[in-house]
Structure formats: C-alpha cells, structure tokens
C-alpha cells in the first residue's frame, strides 16, 4: 500500500503529462513484465503517450496565445473566457489522470481473471486503455475547437497586421519562416503562369526530424544486420514459441485440464456431454452431420470405426487427425478437456440411428465393458437441463481457474 501511495504521489507530479506512466508502473510492480512484450499493449501505450504529448503541446500553445499581450491589451474582456476554458481543459486532464489512478487498483484485481482476453490483454485493460485514447481524443478535439474559436475571433475582428503577429509568433518559431508582411524580401524572381516562389528556410523541426529518421535507420540496420543484437524473425519466433510453452506448462500444472490420450476417461456428466455437443456442432458437424450421421466424414452412430472406437482411439483421432483421409488435427483448436468432452459426446451417439445415416465404414468395434450409453442418450433429449447445468459448470470452472491461479 505504501508503494501504491508513493506511486500515486509520483504520478500526480507528472499528472499533466502521462496518466499512463503511473498505470504501467503499477503493472510492472504487481504483475509480471509480460504486458511489455505484448504488442497491443505497447501500441496502445505509445498512442496514449503520443496523444498526451500532443495535448500538452497544444494546450501550452493555446495558453500562450490566450495569455499573449496582444489579446490582453486588445480584448481584455475576452481573456476571461479564454483562461476559463484553459482551466476547464486542465481540470479535465486532472480528472482524467485521477481516474487513471483510481482504476489502477482495479486493474490489478481484475487482471487475475483470464477469460475474454483481447489481443493478449484482459478485457478491462484493453477497454480501459481504449477509453483513455478516446478521452484524449475528445480533449484534443476540445482544444482544437477552442483554438479555432480563438483564431477566428482574430480574423473576424482584426484586419490583418496585428493578428498575423500572433500567428507568426507560434508558427514562425516552429518554421523559421519570414513573416507574411515581410515576404517580399525573400521573394524569388521566379514567375510561372503567375505562381511565385518564396525562399523560406527549411522548417527546423522538419529538418531535424529528417536527420533523426536517418539516424534511427542506421541504428536499426546496425542492430539487426551488423551487430546482430536484434532478433531476426526466425529467432523471434523460436523465442515466442518457447515462452508460450512455458506459460502453458505453468498453467497446466495447476489445471484440471491435463488430459491426454493415455489418461482420458469417458465423461458421463450431462454437462460434459452438452459441452461436447456444442463443440461438435461448431466444428465437426460440417463433415460428420448435425446428428453425427456422417456426410463427408464417417457415421458416428453406428458401431463401425475406421481408426478404432475406444475412447482413447477417438481422442487420438481428433487430437492428431488423419490428414491423408481429410481429418484435420484439432489439438491447436481444442483444449484437451474439450477433446475429451467431444469424444464422450461422440461415444454417446451410438445407436441413436439418425436419419440419412451414412453406410458403415471401417471395422466393427465392440465395447469391452458396459458403457453408460442409455444414460447419455437420455440426457441428449433433455437439452434444457443440460444448458442449465453447463452454465453452472462454466462458472465453477472459472472459479477453479481463479483459485488455481492464486
């Protein structure tokens, strides 16, 4: 908590600048550093920072104009309005940052629940960051609107000379330009169909920006191709796979999900069968029929199997596929638990005699022991009950996951 407070104070100091800084500091201390390897997170973070910088830049420019002598002397009555808008903008920014502060704690709490991830971020972090981007855009829009309003007041009320002085102050310092009213001094003798050319200097920010991109490019090439310090894509890929493997292993250690073809058991719970059915309809029905009657792929309701009809064999067929026969491997798409569920569902189809059943393929398979067939067929009929049970299972599963992670 002390750490937390410290962070709050520190962040408040830079509050005008980047609400997100505090946010990611929080992340580093509490969570692992994994968010910093997440591309989506980094992209959002960079967007937030860039927008924040733009906001600060804009508002300071805006404040400068609002406070300029020119306005004070000429439109002292208007100045009140302008500074109050400035205050408003600042307030919005402060509110925004305190909102950021408040939410940080929430993030840490919520980040533990892992369902509904978006691009590797949990939903809250994603939408939170998106919200910051959005609010920043709104603030930016407000500032630009106010800025426009201010400039318009100039042009409407003021003829030319004085207003341009203000324009020159800001733009000229950025562009190193000669003022419009003195531009005759840099007018070249070029005249193309009435088009003349000025000889203004290259805008310094543009010129140095150009140099900067060149320097960055040289460093980039050195990093990847001369010093070899950066990972090229194959290396990057190997690292990504290794990292993912570690994470999955870590998760599996504590997960009830840890089944494979040697340990799989027939599941008889109605909720498991229902979950299996859902997976079946979504992924298998296209080739094996809605009722497992077989279309492109074989019939599951008969007693004949092309690659063995035991629970282990079917599990294996789904997991690794039979590529040459057109059955794809599903191990990347379905979790071991899901494969076990869909296998159990398929086992439950035996003897259901769906209409338009495909002719038997493969060898007759006889069950060793008496499988609880009648049990599960009864369950299929009662889909409503299954639905309810499935939902309750889902929440318990989620709860298990959460506790497991703790």
């Amino acid at each position: 908590m002390l750490m937390n407070n410290f962070n709050k104070i520190k962040s408040l100091a830079v509050v005008m600048l980047i609400p997100a800084v505090g946010f990611c500091q929080e992340q580093t201390t509490k969570e692992s550093s994994s968010y910093f390897t997440n591309v989506l997170f980094l992209t959002l973070l960079v967007t937030i920072i860039v927008l924040a910088i733009v906001i600060v830049a804009f508002s300071s420019v805006f404040k400068n104009i609002a406070d300029s002598d020119y306005l004070t002397s000429k439109y002292s009555n208007k100045k009140e309005d302008n500074s109050s808008t400035m205050r408003n903008v600042t307030t919005v920014l402060l509110m925004l940052s305190s909102f950021a502060m408040m939410s940080q704690e929430k993030v840490v709490a919520i980040a533990k629940v892992d369902d509904g991830r978006i691009g590797g971020l949990d939903q809250f972090t994603f939408y939170f960051m998106l919200a910051i981007v959005f609010i920043e855009l709104v603030v930016l829009g407000l500032i630009i609107y106010q800025f426009n309003f201010l400039v318009k007041t100039h042009t409407v009320v003021e003829a030319t000379s004085k207003a341009k002085k203000v324009e020159s102050k800001i733009i000229m310092s950025l562009t190193d330009a000669v003022a419009v009213e003195e531009e005759e001094s840099i007018m070249l003798d070029h005249d193309y169909d009435g088009i003349k050319e000025l000889d203004n200097n290259l805008p310094p920010w543009w010129k140095y920006g150009f140099y900067l991109t060149i320097v960055v490019s040289v460093i980039y090439l050195f990093n990847f191709h001369v010093l070899g310090t950066g990972d090229l894509q194959t290396k990057e890929y190997e690292k990504e796979i290794a990292q993912a493997k570690l994470e999955v292993e870590e998760f599996m250690k504590t997960s009830a999900n840890n089944v494979d073809e040697s340990t799989v058991k027939l599941l008889t719970d109605a909720s498991d069968i229902a979950a299996g059915k859902a997976v079946f309809i979504a992924n298998c029905a296209a080739c094996h029929g809605q009722l497992g009657e077989g279309t492109v792929g074989p019939n599951f309701a008969d007693e004949y199997w092309m690659h063995g009809g035991s629970i282990q064999d079917i599990f294996k067929s789904i997991k690794y596929g039979w590529i040459e026969k057109g059955m794809k491997a599903w191990k990347e798409d379905l979790s071991p638990m899901q494969i076990a569920q869909v296998t159990s569902f398929i086992k439950s189809l035996k003897g259901t005699n769906p209409p338009n059943g495909k002719a038997p393929q493969g060898d007759l398979y006889m069950e060793g022991g008496a499988a609880p067939i009648s049990d599960s067929t009864a369950v299929i009929g009662d889909s409503l009950a299954i639905q309810i049970k499935a939902d309750s299972l889902k929440s318990t599963a989620a709860a298990t996951v959460t506790t497991a992670k703790k």
Binding site: T43, G119, D199, Y237, I241, A286, V296, G326, S335
Partner: protein, 708 residues
C-alpha cells in the same frame, strides 16, 4: 523581344476531365458493390463476372488508372501548357493519348470481368494490354517532352519535375514488373517466381502508389493550390529537397508490404528503414502546400475548391505518417492482412486523390466554360458528405482490422487458439456494413458534383480558343551569380529526366540483384517439386477467379499463425510459383497449408455452397466450376511455357502431360465418388481440387517424416 502568340489546347483537357468524372463514378460504384458483397455474397447475382475476386481488381484498376489516371492527364495537360507558355506539342499525339488510354480502360474492364488476369495486384492486365499501356505511355511522354522542348519559359517549375519523374518511373516500373511469357493471347505467366516475383511485384505495387497516386498529384498540388490561393509557394528550397529525397527513398520501401514473409530479412529491414525515412520528404510536400496558404486562410472559407485541396493535403499528411508506422515490424504484425490496411489506403485514395481531383474540377470546369460554378452550396454539401463518407469508411475499418487481428492472435491459457477463423469473420459484418455506408456517401457526393458540373457546363460556353503570348527563348541563358545551383538542372529537361531515372533505379537494383543472384537468399528445398499438369490448370483457375483478393498463401512465423495454419512458409517453397499468390488480405483464412486438410468432397461441396461446409462464410458460391469443362488443350502450351521459365519438367513432358493430367483427374473423381459425389473428370472443379490439395504439402510430408 518579340512576343509570340499561341493558343492553349483546352479540348484535350476537357475530354480528360469528362473521362475522369465518368470513370470515377464507375470505379466508386464497383467498389461499393464489392464492399456490399463482403456481407451479402449473393450481391454478385451468382454470375462469375461479378464475383468479388473479379470486381476487386476491376475496382482498383478503375479508380487508380481510370479515375486518377485521367485526373493526372487532365491536370498535366492544363498546367503544363501554361507553365511552359506553349501549346501541347502535337494535337494528334494528344488524341492518340486520350483515346488510347480510354481503349485501355475499356479493355481492362472487359478482360478483368472475364477473368483474364495475371494475378498480380494492380498489374492484373494481360500482356497485350500491357504492351498497349507502354505505347500510350510513350505517346504521353513524347507529347510532354515535345512541349517542354518548345517551351517559352526557361526554367521548369517544380510541378514539372514531378511530372517528369512520374513519366520515367512509371515506365520503368511497368516494364520491369510486366515481363511475362505469353501462353496464349489472353494468358501469360510472370517471368519471376515466388520470392523474386513478390519482391518485384511489391516494388511495383508500392511505387504505383508513389509514382501514380503521389508524385503526379504533388505536381498538380504545386500548380493548382497556389493558383487557387493566389499566394507564392512557401519555400523553393523545401521543394528541391523534398522532391529529390522523395523519389530516391520511395523506391526502396516496397518490401514493407512483405514483412514477416519469406523475403530475406535484410530486404525487409531495408523496407522498414526507408519507409521511416520517408516521413519527412512526404511531409515536405504537405508543409509546402499548407504553408503556402499562410495569410490566405480566409480564401479557404470562400473557395470550395481550395477547401477540397486543404483536406486532400491533410489526408496526404495523415496517410504518409501512418504508412511508415505500418512499416514498423511490430505494428505490421498486427495490421497486415486486415482491414486496417484497407482503411489506410482509402484515407489516401478518397482523401488525397479523390478530394484533390474534386477540388481541381470545381476550379477548372467553370474556367474552361467561362462561367461561375452552378451551385456553390451544392459543392459545399459535396464537401461535407464526402468528408463524412471518408470518416465513416475509415473508422469502422480501423476498428475492424484491429479487432480481427487481435482475435487471430488470441490464445486460451491452455494454449489453444481462442477463436475459429469463422468467428472473426462473423464479427466483421457490422463493420463491413458501416464501411459500405461511408463509401456510398462518398459516391453520392461525387454524383452531386457531376450534376453540379453538368449544370455549369450547360450554362457556360466552352473556351475553345484561349490565346496567350510570351517571348520566344533565344540564345543561351546568362546565369546570374546569385542563382541557386539547382537552377541549372531546371533548364535541362533531358538531364533532369536522366538524373531522375538514375535516382529511382538505385533502390530497386540494390534490392533485386542479390535476391536474383545470391542463392542463400532463397534456400532450395529438395522436396519441393513442380506442379502436376492438373494442379497447374487448377492454379490457373485459382488465379482467374481472383482467390488472392481474399486469401493469402503465406504463413508468417508467429505462434498464432503456425498454430492455426501449420509450419510457417519458407522461401524455397515458392520457386515454381509463376506468379506468386501470397495475397495481401485475409478476408478468408490463409491457404498456404490447405493441402490435405479437408477431403476432396469437402472442397467440392464448399465450392458449390461455402456455407454448407463452413456456416457463416461470406465466400461467394462457384457453381460454374462444377459445370464448366476444363480447357485441356492448353496444357501442352502451359507446360512448354513453364519449361521456358526454367521449371524442371522432363524433356518432352509437354507432349505426355495430358495423360498424367487425365490420370490424376480420374483419381480425384474416384475419391469423390466414395463420398457419394458423381462428377466427370474433365470439369474445372477437379483441377481446382487438385491444386488446393497440393498447397503447402511439399514440406508438410517432409516435416512428418522427420518427426517420426
């Protein structure tokens, strides 16, 4: 000095303006139909000619080469004469140029809907049209340089530098990328294969954007913007630097379209860094445009043409900042293959090219017809509808692209992919609908403009004879000591052209030569074999139907892709792919490792009705593939052409290829029969199944062997 009198050729300008409007409407309408098909596949009326795979190339070709192309010529023919104080060199050449270009467009439209395509994006047109394009382009250059030689203005204005660079570079790009071996009058194979083809194609594709959509339009901006604003150009020095830097750097950036593909790492890195370095030169043009308006912003309020130009230049700035950002590998990893890219190019196309063209038309047509614009109010309405259209188009596409990419990359904690590809497709539908609304608004704006301009034309009288006078150029130029050094080349059009050509040739040469000559760039894989005759025929059907417009064939080395599709793609796998079919957009899933994933009968049913095999699919139906007979007679010439390209079929194989083809077709038919599907072995579907079942298998079997 004696003043010479001469007349401007306004007639050609007028004709190009009419063509711009007409093809603009056609191109946008086709785009709108294609956009609607993405959520309503039946909008193709179940005709082969109007399927997405054929309409999409038609849309891109129409808006790029017909709408923007005619827009370029309109602006160049108007500004060039006035900037040089000379009539166009030859009325005959102008006529040939105009009608030749329109003939190309009509031929393009006909051949594309008939499925005659090379299968290379933005270069789909077949070889006879390619030759025609080259000839007409030479006529354009001839006419332009003839005018330049006969000029009455000593120095060339910056707009003309851009026109010259456009002329030489487009000629170079078009010729190099279109080298192909004809098989028949409407069929050819790209001379390059796989990685090399990809590199050449995206060198072309990227620089078609640079030198067809950007440099000529910058030239137009340099003429029409100061003209409309009646202000001097902001900085002559900035124009010099940004012109040379832009044309030099642009050429290198092509490989940023191929990040994380099988293109060698060093080439990708060049694509990245040169894109990053492009920010400043691109923005140089925007700055010079916007700062030219210093002290004239009140005119922007009153002049609707100028208003369009300001938004155009701003859109240009946005797109050219976003481009380099998208070229960063980590951003590209998210955005590539998604609708994000579609949003990006449309900010450029609708904003920069579209609005620039509209702005010029609103200014030009009243001048050509010596009258005022029929309705300023209507033009303002167009401006707001168009802007709204762009926003409504871009925002949903940005959102959709980002969302879909995130879903593709999502894993469950158990390590499985969280979403089936189909889940991500169905999530796109609302965004596709919103996008088509944005596109429709943009089109409505263009229709309002057409009406407004027709009314203007009806009221006015065409300025057929516009006289001007200027002294002739006599003798050598006496240079002043205080002249900028760059003034020298502005007096020497031929030297300017040659130097431009050298500057733009460097990047391509440095990137191509090693990829063509150094073997380590494309490591050979022994198990990769040429396509069988039937697979080759199937591949040609794949190309004909434009499958590459929605499906990539390139698995990138990401966990999320190898988990979904299989082993990532290797450079050596594509050595017999003339042309390469890596694609650039995944509206449907990647197909690089499709072979053997599903049974033959799955493909048969899927082509008949995709939703039967994958519910929710937005792929159109291809029933004609089941009916149509394969053109078996072409097999011999196709194999022969491949042999000439260096594909190692045995000597004399072309004569017996047809036997192998029939044999393989019978096997597939027998296979289908087992699943209860009766079909004849000479149908197109059989060839297509053969090709789809081959995809990515060469190293798949190898991989399995090593695993055992």
């Amino acid at each position: 000095m004696e003043l010479q009198k001469f007349q401007y050729d306004n007639k050609t300008v007028k004709m190009f303006a009419y063509a711009t409007i007409l093809w603009g409407l056609v191109g946008m309408l086709v785009g709108l139909i294609a956009a609607i098909q993405l959520y309503l596949p039946a909008a193709n009326l179940n005709l082969p000619y109007t399927t997405f795979g054929r309409l999409r190339p038609l849309h891109t070709n129409a808006v790029i080469f017909a709408f923007v192309g005619n827009g370029i010529f309109m602006g160049v023919y108007y500004s060039l004469q006035r900037l040089l104080k000379a009539r166009m060199f030859s009325d005959l050449l102008s006529k040939i140029h105009f009608w030749g270009w329109q003939l190309i467009i009509v031929l393009a439209a006909l051949t594309l809907v008939l499925g005659k395509t090379t299968g290379k994006e933005y270069a789909e047109l077949e070889w006879p049209i390619d030759i025609l394009i080259t000839l007409v382009w030479v006529v354009f250059g001839w006419n332009m340089f003839g005018t330049i030689i006969r000029r009455r203005e000593r120095h060339l204005y910056v707009a003309i530098w851009f026109y010259i660079a456009t002329f030489v570079t487009v000629a170079m790009l078009h010729i190099v990328n279109s080298i192909e071996i004809p098989v028949s009058f409407w069929k050819s194979y790209s001379w390059y294969a796989g990685v090399q083809d990809a590199l050449v194609q995206w060198w072309y594709g990227h620089n078609a954007v640079a030198f067809f959509l950007t440099t000529p339009y910058l030239g137009l901006m340099y003429y029409f913007l100061p003209k409309m604003a009646q202000r001097p150009v902001y900085s002559y020095r900035l124009s010099i630097i940004h012109f040379w830097a832009l044309i030099f750097l642009y050429i290198w950036a092509g490989p940023h379209h191929l990040l994380y593909t099988s293109v060698p790492d060093w080439a990708q890195s060049l694509g990245v860094v040169f894109s990053v370095m492009l920010i400043a030169p691109s923005w140089g043009g925007m700055i010079n445009g916007l700062l030219t308006l210093r002290g004239a912003w009140d005119r922007v309020r009153d002049n609707v043409g100028l208003k369009f130009l300001v938004v155009a230049v701003t859109a240009y700035g946005m797109a050219t900042f976003e481009g380099p950002m998208l070229s960063l590998k980590n951003v590209n990893a998210i955005a590539h293959y998604t609708d994000w890219i579609v949003a990006h190019v449309h900010v450029g196309a609708l904003g920069w090219n579209g609005f620039m063209t509209f702005g010029i038309l609103y200014w030009l047509i009243p001048r050509l017809f010596q009258t005022k614009l029929y309705s300023e109010k209507l033009a303002n309405t167009h401006f707001w509808i168009g802007t709204l259209g762009i926003v409504l188009y871009a925002v949903p596409m940005y959102w959709a692209g980002f969302m879909q990419s995130s879903m593709w990359k999502d894993f469950t904690p158990e390590g499985q992919l969280k979403w089936q590809f189909m889940d991500t497709v169905t999530k796109m539908i609302p965004f596709y609908i919103a996008r088509s609304v944005g596109g429709a608004l943009f089109l409505v704006g263009a229709i309002l403009m057409t009406y407004n301009l027709i009314k203007t034309i009806k009221v006015g009288t065409f300025l057929e004879i516009e006289e001007d006078q200027a002294p002739a150029l006599v003798g050598e130029y006496q240079s002043h000591s205080k002249d900028h050094w760059h003034r020298w080349i502005e007096r020497k059009p031929i030297q300017l052209m040659i130097v431009s050509l050298v500057v733009v040739a460097i990047g391509g040469l440095i990137e191509f030569v090693p990829v063509f000559l150094v073997k380590s760039n494309i490591p050979t894989i022994a198990s990769v074999k040429p396509y069988t005759p039937l697979e080759l025929q199937g591949r040609d059907i794949y190309v004909r139907e434009g499958c590459y417009t929605c499906h990539s064939q390139m698995v990138r080395p990401f966990r999320s892709e190898t988990a979904r599709y299989g082993e990532y793609s290797k450079a050596g796998e594509f050595v017999y792919d003339h042309p390469f079919q890596w694609g650039s957009k995944r509206t449907g899933p990647d197909l690089a490792r499709l072979g053997g994933k599903y049974p033959d009968s799955w493909h048969y049913n899927h082509m008949l009705d995709p939703t039967s095999m994958s519910p929710g699919s937005v792929m159109p139906q291809y029933p004609w593939l089941l009916e149509d007979q394969l053109d078996a007679n072409s097999t011999m010439s196709k194999i022969k052409a491949m042999q000439r390209l260096g594909v190692p079929y045995p000597e004399g194989y072309d004569k017996i290829a047809i036997n192998d083809m029939e044999k393989q077709a019978k096997e597939i038919t027998a296979n289908l029969k087992k699943d209860g599907i009766e079909t004849l072995p000479d149908r197109e579907i059989v060839a297509l199944i053969a090709y789809l079942q081959r995809l990515g298998k060469d190293i798949k079997s190898e991989g399995l062997k090593t695993q055992k």
